[in-house]
């Protein structure tokens, strides 16, 4: 009891420290702008360039990162003035959110701006400014309490402790509710206390997630099941990383047997070019275990033909340095040879539980050797 209390205190302290550094960072940026204005100068700051030319693959980090080129944003440039102001507002808004420990969605940001006479033409413009803030501070938006709409969920024996206002110190076991828990702001910011699980299974589809819960995959394979809901949102990727880094759990990924599924796995593993300005979003040790193109033949899965855009996507990915070797390269080639794809549900041809009874154990075994 005492130990856990101590731990809880530590957790809370850790969260506070994190908050403090974030606020400090924002304050520093604000102070610099303040100083410029006070000195009668147009405020300016530099921001890592996010242009395609400045996105490079870092083999050591095993993810895309931004290169060295930076862009100067100056309030003197009338073409940048508007976005400069938008970014200042966002920093100001994020500062309030963080201080007040209030969370907000991307859409909230878009609407909140209107209270300050900051115009965003549409949400994509405000989303873009949010990415700017991430780039300037090198911190994901979630650190500023800005979250995307939730669509992914988690289930399994994991105890967490909330840090959000009103729930501080409250704990929760994530296997209490069979529908799973949505991975929202409170979960993302919660401290991970302990778990009996030995592996994290990230799965692309909600339907299979439900089946896995029903079939008690969590218990049978001592796992935490996460539904990524297609391409894994940032909060989910952050959570995966934390489960891996903080709890020491290996992560395996199950996707549809197509090129998009392969890439979903890749993004969890090594991030996306879009988030090249951020670290801490990747799980380089995560393993994609299926459905592989080779599985289609091996398990004689019912298939559907690949579309034009599927094929184009294959060729596009072949140019990506991350697909230059290993299973990534091999599976792409097989997809291109087959010109057919298979969904996770295809295993239902052999019975609804075939995927959990037969396929999953084989893949879990295989993962150890990957």
């Amino acid at each position: 009891m005492k130990a856990s209390e101590k731990k809880a205190k530590e957790i809370s302290k850790k969260a506070q420290e994190k908050q403090k550094t974030i606020l400090e960072s924002l304050k520093n940026h604000g102070a610099k702008i303040y100083e410029d204005l006070e000195n009668g100068q147009f405020p300016k700051f530099s921001i890592p360039s996010r242009s395609v030319g400045n996105i490079v693959y870092d083999k050591k980090l095993r993810q895309y990162i931004l290169g060295n080129s930076t862009a100067l944003r100056s309030a003197k440039n009338s073409a940048q003035l508007r976005s400069f102001t938008q970014l200042m507002w966002l920093a100001f808004f994020a500062n309030r959110l963080t201080q007040e420990k209030k969370s907000s969605t991307l859409r909230d940001v878009y609407y909140s701006s209107q209270a300050f006479a900051i115009e965003f033409d549409d949400q994509s413009e405000s989303d873009n400014i949010i990415v700017d803030l991430e780039a300037v501070t090198s911190r994901p938006r979630e650190d500023f309490h800005i979250f995307p709409e939730e669509r992914s969920s988690i289930f399994g024996d994991l105890n967490i402790e909330y840090t959000i206002p009103g729930y501080e110190g409250k704990t929760m076991n994530l296997s209490n509710h069979p529908d799973g828990y949505s991975i929202g702001p409170s979960l993302t910011t919660a401290e991970l206390v302990d778990t009996s699980a030995e592996i994290v299974i990230a799965i692309e589809k909600g339907g299979l997630f439900t089946r896995f819960v029903e079939e008690q995959v969590d218990k049978k394979f001592k796992s935490i099941i996460i539904n990524t809901g297609g391409q894994a949102p940032r909060s989910t990727r952050t959570l995966l990383k934390r489960l891996h880094d903080e709890m020491g759990l290996p992560v395996i990924i199950l996707t549809d047997g197509d090129v998009y599924g392969e890439h979903i796995a890749m993004v969890i593993k090594s991030g996306s070019a879009n988030a090249a300005h951020l670290r801490e979003l990747t799980v380089p040790d995560a393993k994609w275990v299926g459905v592989w193109a080779t599985d289609i033949e091996k398990y004689k899965l019912p298939t559907i033909p690949m579309t034009e855009s599927d094929i184009k996507r294959c060729y596009d990915l072949q140019k990506d340095p991350r697909y230059e070797s290993g299973i990534w390269k091999k599976e792409l080639e097989v997809f291109l040879r087959l010109k057919r794809k298979a969904e996770l549900e295809a295993f239902a041809k052999y019975g609804l539980t075939n995927i959990t009874d037969k396929y999953l154990p084989q893949k879990l075994e295989l993962a150890k050797s990957l």
Binding site: G30, Y34, E38, G40, A75, S78, T85, M88, F92, R96
Partner: protein, 627 residues
Amino acid sequence: MSSIKEKFNQISPSEFFYSNRDLAGFSNPTRSLYTAVREFVENALDACDQKGILPDVHLTIKAVDPDKPDPKPYILTVKDNGPGVDTKHIPLAFGTVLYGSKFGLKQARGMFGLGATMAILYGQITTNKPVIVKSSTDGKIQDQFEILLDIQKNKPVIQKHTTKEISKKGLSVSICLEGDYSKAGNKIRDYVYETSLITPYATITFDDPKGQKFHHPRFVKEIPPPPTIIRPHPHGIDVERIRRMIVESQFEIPTIDDVMIEKVRKDLGLSKQNLSFTAIMTKAKKKWKNLSRQVRVVIALLSFLKMDFEKLSKIRIEDLDVPNKKLHYWDFGDSQSKTVDMDPESQYYKQLTNTVQGEPLTTFLTKRFQRVGPTTAVKFAEFAKFKPEKRMGTLTNQELVNLSDSLQKFDDFMAPDSSCLAPLGESPLEKGIKKFFNPDFVAVVQRPASAYSGFPFIVEMGIAYGGDIKSGGPHVYRYANRIPLLYDEGSDVVLKVVNDTDWGRYKVKGEPPFIIVSHICSTRIPYKTAGKENVADRQEIERELRLALQFLSRKLAAFMSKKGQAEMAKKRANLYAKYIPMIAEFCTELAGKKKEPNYKKILDELEPVEVKSEEKPVEEEKPIESK
């Protein structure tokens, strides 16, 4: 012969115009009222121009019975401060057609008399009221005439003539005519407005039938230099004109009647004396230098006839056969035709040939035309395959045609003299445009003189943008010899040139607020129609218009891009004013400060840019626009 000529002159013009009044712009009550206004106002302005008087023109139109519907009789009065018309000339000037003083080659708004008398004639035939003319040439006594026109006889019928004391010089003409002001009003007001733009040295006042007053005071104190009368240019001439010039240059053998003999006697100082032939010749030789041309011719004839005055009165000269050197005459004494030989060596023979055959070609060219010197004349003779000493009086019809053609084709004549033109000038034009439109930008240009078919012309043009100018431009104000052209825009050469211009190239877009003022000055404006409302597209004129417009358009483009920059600067300044305070607000809270930073310094630094763009564009343009 002479009696027939007189009849032709006096009866025909009135009747001719009476039956062809449409041609002169009197086709209906609307057009007629407008044309009458124009004719009188232009006459008034011309009269003042000629005497170098700053014109004060007062136009009044009053309905005889305001309650009647249009068309109805109106009293049109135009009063000026010009030189007035001599008492003895008034009846003829206002009571006959084709009587006037405006002949000769120089730029004038119109031919005096023709249009004005047409208006008088029109008034008379529609209302049967006389013209009322009040004139004072000395500023002391004013003559007042009421005159009707006898159309068949082309003669004035004076109804009333009174005089009174007055303190101002000037002329006032008042007619009663059938008109339609409700329809013509717009055009008349436009006419008065546009006339005052191109006549900035005139004060023009218009009292309209509805009791409205339109007053356009002069805003320029100098009258542009008046044009001079000049000789024609060889390129601007035709066979008929040459024929007339030859007639003018030639002297006919005078009719030797009693009156003529009496004149010769008197000039020789012989009055009643009856001298012998020899004595007459001796006397004539002595006095030769002081003798008139006519008398010299008579003496020359006498030298071959060898007669005294007594005998001379009894013969009639029949023919002077220069090539055969014979003189034929009819002797009333014995009723037969007789012939004497002429000695070609005699000095009198030369006198007679000069008279009969006219001047040599080279003399004719240098004396009767502008810009032709002796060298050019000889060169031309060679070009036209004429002997330089060829006598003008001996030209056959075919030779005349050849001469006329050659005059057109010969390229070595100097360009026509433009001293006969009276352009307004760049500075008054610019002042006028500025006063009328208060524009943000104005530029004017006067092209150098050019010529078409031997008629010199000058194009003046102005362009203005912004200010009080309505959008939807370019609005084109066309003038010819200081007359605004209001009707028949469509087919005009100026409009053609303007419409051919791609304004986008000059950074003028959308429905821009801009105007173009075009003024063509010429001794003869090539109007397309008798109504004098649109100028034909003569190649040379079109070219000059195009060059003028291009020159001005480039300046406009420079202004437009500056304006664009100024607008951008202003927009930017607005952006800063909007966003900098916001940035200040946000960073204050971010930085954890209480007081906002002093960002005013930045905005203050921006301020000059804004002032520049808002208040100075016209000033800035000045060095460019004024030459």
